[in-house]
Amino acid sequence: MLVISGVMNGAIYGLVALGFVLIYKASAVLNFAQGYMLLLGAYLFWFFRATLGLPLAVALLLAMAAGFLVGMLIERLTLRPLIGQPLISMITVTIFLSLVLEGLVSMIWGTYPLQHVTVFHDRSIRMGGMVLTTQSLIACGLALGVAGALIAFFRFTRIGLAMRGVAEGHQIVQSMGISVRRILNISWGLAGIAATIGGILLGGTLGFQLALSQIGLLAIPAAFIGGLESPEGAVLGGLLVGLSESIVSGYVGNAAGVPAAFVILIATMLFRPYGFFGLERIERV
């Protein structure tokens, strides 16, 4: 039972971690604001669904579009001016961006948890002695589906190939006529969508509250564990984190769940510094 719920949560972490990895691959930026993009995306969905009362599908689509826009805007306004500057500046910007986003969300929607909105119908299914909600099942399926779609996009499309090329070297692909700026923009937009969907799914089960960002932050160790350059690794890392969080919470106690993820991160870094699927440095000897 713990395993199942852990895997379900893990799928969502995996999706958000995928967004994190997309940004890292394209621009070598560690987007510490990923959890907060998740928060903003989730709250925007709540706005469309609860405040405007739009039908579910419309609210979902609008939220996804908004997530894409949020990602692109963040790249355009805060990171593009820093191209060519040391990487540490960009990473620092994402750290403080988190605070800005949190403040923004609190200002608009207040600091108390929002009225609960069910994302999908809440029905229970009994499966072999365990009780599952359709809510969680659909969430898990959707998360894995979107993650799979993004991975396929990355691997099989022309733009996906261009993104992987940009990850190898900005100057090199510029000499081939690829607009690095546009590709970076799209990467951030996609990461925004991933974060938003993750936020919506988490919000459906845990409620739309500020703590969502903390949970979203778990995606970052998931990405590291899976290997920062590997989209597939991000999903697997997410599943691992979800599993460990669930199992540890169940056996040791609720508060130990999140730290458990970081313990696994440290353990992974000791034995596999590049993560399980990270790309090893290709050095010519």
Binding site: L161, A162, R164, Q174, M176, G177, I178
Partner: protein, 262 residues
């Protein structure tokens, strides 16, 4: 086709690298740019292709004209779309991608349907690559990587190809093979080539015209054959002394001898 007029290039606003370079590349020809290290050859190519701007470099004076249009302030993507493709020095392959993926990205700016035909063309010129098409490019040998880079440039069907030191670090036989293919490219695909080389012998062997760059200025130019006979070129770049003369120690002390063109 390409004209540089008194081009001056500065890095970070203070480091003057090109001090008034003028040269011309006629259509359909192979032109060499020779010079020792630090002369400014790579900077010249990057000024043409626009990659200078990604390194805090700037064309501060003079003009670069391509088919009548000024290109010295354009983004590298725009210059590439106009048909000028640079093969950078240092064998900059997209390391974790396979050979075929590298080539496909090379053809990014081409219309969608032409990829297969272009790939076929490149593999015809470089049969070795066909066998290695699914290998991770970072693990290829130097010669194979260089071939892939030239192939990657060809995928964009350039009108003008800027080749930066293709022979660097390669075995003489491999260099010969690559140069033969470059010559074929020029004649069969009608690609104009501006070739930067340290290996003056190989470069002069396939070019029609050559310029010698030193300290950011063109110091000598002429038809490749004439330059190959030039005494200073022979001594300083080809490593040949005067034929039939007894070499005295004074002749060996090249640091004491001034180049005749200075």
């Amino acid at each position: 086709m390409l004209t540089l007029s008194n081009v001056e290039v500065k890095y970070a606003g203070v480091i003057l690298v090109l001090r008034g370079v003028s040269l011309q590349v006629p259509e359909g020809k192979i032109v060499s740019l020779l010079g020792s290290n630090g002369a400014g050859k790579t900077t010249t190519l990057k000024a043409i292709s626009g990659l200078l701007r990604t390194e805090l470099g700037e064309v501060t004076a003079g003009a670069i004209e391509y088919q009548g249009r000024r290109i010295d302030r354009l983004d590298p993507e725009k210059v590439a779309k106009m048909g000028i493709i640079q093969v950078m020095e240092g064998r900059k392959v997209l390391r974790h991608l396979t050979v075929e993926e590298n080539l496909r990205l090379g053809g990014y700016i081409r219309p969608n349907g032409s990829v297969r035909r272009d790939l076929g063309m490149v593999y015809d010129y470089f049969p070795k690559l066909r066998g290695r098409r699914d290998s991770v490019s970072g693990y290829l040998s130097g010669g194979e990587q260089q071939m892939m880079l030239i192939g990657r440039a060809m995928m964009a069907r350039p009108r003008l190809m800027l080749l930066d030191e293709p022979s660097m670090g390669l075995a003489p036989l491999v260099v010969k093979e690559i140069y033969e293919i470059v010559q074929r490219l020029a004649s069969e695909e009608k690609t104009t080539i501006l070739l930067v080389e340290q290996n003056a012998k190989a470069a002069l062997g396939i070019s029609q015209f050559a310029y010698v760059l030193e300290n950011g200025r063109v110091v000598l130019d002429g038809p490749a054959g004439t330059l190959a006979e030039n005494e200073d070129i022979r001594e300083f770049y080809l490593g040949l002394g005067k034929l039939g003369e007894k070499k005295s120690y004074r002749a060996v002390k090249t640091y004491k001898r001034r180049k005749r063109w200075l």
